[in-house]
Amino acid sequence: MPADRMPLLDVRNLCVSVPANGGMIRLVENVSFCVDEAEIVGLVGESGSGKSVTAMALMGLIDSPGVQVRGSARFRGQELVGMAPRALRALRGRDIAMIFQDPMTAFTPVYTIGWQIDEQIRAHERLSRRAARARTVQLLAEMGVPDPARTAQRYPHQLSGGLRQRAMIAMALSCNPTLLIADEPTTALDVTVQAQILELLRGLRHSHGSSVLLITHDMGVVAQTCARTLVLYSGRMAESGPTSTLFARPAHPYTAALLDSIPPLDGPRPPRLPAIAGLPPTPRERPAGCAFGPRCAHVHATCLPAPPALASIGPGQQAACVLPAEGTPLPPRATAQATRP
């Protein structure tokens, strides 16, 4: 990225620690990435890898006692880390909005969908109830909700999962945010509905000029939606780069192994899946060296003393692995899965 252009969101060395047993445990360690205007960036990793914690820290939504958020996260040049709660509240919902995984718990069950979206609009803009409701109905219609005026009068439990998630996205977009953080927005949905919601997210770039930080564990969703991807492992960055490069030439053994362990839907069926043995370490028992070391097929002495630094591999691609620097990079992946019937 040219130095003169400022990215929409610039996160540098973000660390999140929580107190435990008299010490501090680092849930997220030195995570750095940027999101450009009208760009969809994927944040992937397994459960416990710190992807949701990263998003919550950006939004200032972690309020557990004693939590420490360090590093820097600049949104249009404004520092989010340590921002006064009042200023952050004005930003949240208006400029940065969030979609949560479970739309059932993200809406309050005692008010109608319309009431809740109206409230968000009126919290940020001076609008009459009537004008706010008109905007709400229009937003619901844009999200493909059938009969939006009546749907606005319904309670969350009266809607299907897909409709609830659409209402959630409508609420997030109600103040035209420049950045949308979507935390596993389709995980609770069926594939046919997931396809509709992903289509909606892809369209937001053009219709609303919004950027999206998409948090997911599904490499299929990443491949179809994100221009760039960041892979987290045990709270640390394993690899980042353009999605196409990451899928074709992953530089970190974890990225490669993760991609290989997905059962293919097309092409030949392997007799056994190349699974990654073992489990990701919890933040408490993370090893001194590379966090993936204990499960890595290429682990050797240089991986053990300290976590490998992020090294630049190619255009826009970075990996926290010693292999490329040692002149033994991973081979490109076979494109057996590239065929589609």
Binding site: G161, V191, T192, T243, I262, P263, P264, L273, Q337, R340
Partner: protein
């Protein structure tokens, strides 16, 4: 046992729940199915299609409203619990939520020993504690856990390990049929691959017959020899795994496979279906899929298509199956 006798046979099985105001929810709406020995049947569909209910009906964990359930040729539809109990060791279930399925207050060894204590050995005698201990160690080795796990409590294990424990418990009595309801959907991809491999290994070693209830088509493809696709309580397509997934005859199967995001950059995103699955309380007249079907024609809204053979071993419930001469372009 005669190898041509199905391990499990369903004949026009229905499961209806009564709702307030005289409404009825037809969760399973007339399903007939045979599962042959050694077969691995994948039961797929979206949430609310009745696949889990059907899985439970197969093992008489739920009673069916009408129809017949036959286990190894024997009608178990109306057997009393007492008469059913001697048959239970032959059919076991693995549940989706590995945490909820294990009593948090009991050690793993105790949890796994319970079925061995409840059910007598095949010779009709009670198992001695020495046989039980030996069997527990065997089971741990089978699912790839250390024997030390027996002395620990469920909370000490990760999701993948807990699912291994659930599988060990299901296998304790050497069942012939295992019904697994979404056994890997709560697991991370790298761990999911381990459990999928475990199921394949166990089948090769023990000659099990499986029914997998799952929503993830890629996992089902890896695990199953045959696939049945459900929509709103009925099977709309059934056949060999790759025939169904790669040359689907029913438009719903085609839409379902196309909607799965492939982990391939540049693959065209496919969205063939609009709207949500209709409520099973008011299911559409005629073909149950016609409200979302891109190929629907006038006849589909009136006349319900029955499951019929499209090719040998491949059935679909569609008036205008894909790949046929009636296909509308």
């Amino acid at each position: 046992m005669n190898p041509s006798t199905p391990v499990l046979e369903l004949r026009d099985v229905r499961k209806t729940y009564r709702l307030p105001r005289g409404q009825k929810l037809k969760a399973v709406d007339g399903i007939s199915l045979r599962v042959m020995p050694g077969e691995m049947l994948g039961l797929v569909g979206e949430s609310g299609c009745g696949k889990s209910t059907l899985g439970r009906c197969m093992l008489r964990l739920d009673d069916v409203s009408s129809g017949q359930v036959l286990f190894e040729g024997r009608d178990i539809t109306t057997l009393s619990e007492r008469k059913l109990r001697p048959l239970r060791p032959g059919m076991q279930m693995v549940f989706q939520n590995s945490t909820a399925a294990l009593n948090p207050c009991r050690r793993i060894g105790d949890l796994l020993a319970e079925p061995l204590r409840v059910h007598p050995a095949p010779d009709g005698r009670r198992r001695t504690s020495a046989t039980i201990t030996a069997r527990l160690h065997e089971l741990m080795a089978l699912v790839g856990l250390p024997a030390s796990a027996l002395a620990r409590y469920p909370h000490a294990f990760s999701g993948g390990q807990r699912q291994r424990i659930n599988i060990a418990r299901a296998l304790a009595l050497s069942p012939r049929l295992v019904v697994a309801d979404e056994p890997v959907s709560a697991l991370d991809v790298s761990v999911q691959a381990q459990i999928v491999n475990l199921f394949a290994d166990l089948r090769a070693r023990l000659g099990l017959t499986y029914v997998f209830v799952a929503h993830d088509l890629a996992v089902v493809r890896q695990i199953s020899t045959r696939v049945a696709v459900m929509y709103l309580g009925a099977i709309v397509e059934c056949g060999e795994t790759d025939a169904v997934l790669h040359a689907p005859a029913h438009p719903y199967t085609a839409a379902l496979t196309a909607a799965v995001p492939r982990p391939v950059v540049g693959a065209a995103p496919a969205m063939l279906l609009r709207g949500d699955v209709p409520s099973p309380v008011n299911r559409p007249a005629g073909c149950r899929f016609h409200t979302r079907c891109p190929q629907a024609q006038a006849r589909c809204g009136v006349e319900e298509p029955l499951l019929r053979a499209i090719r040998p071993g491949h059935e679909a419930a569609c008036h205008y199956p894909l790949g046929g001469e009636h296909r509308k372009v």
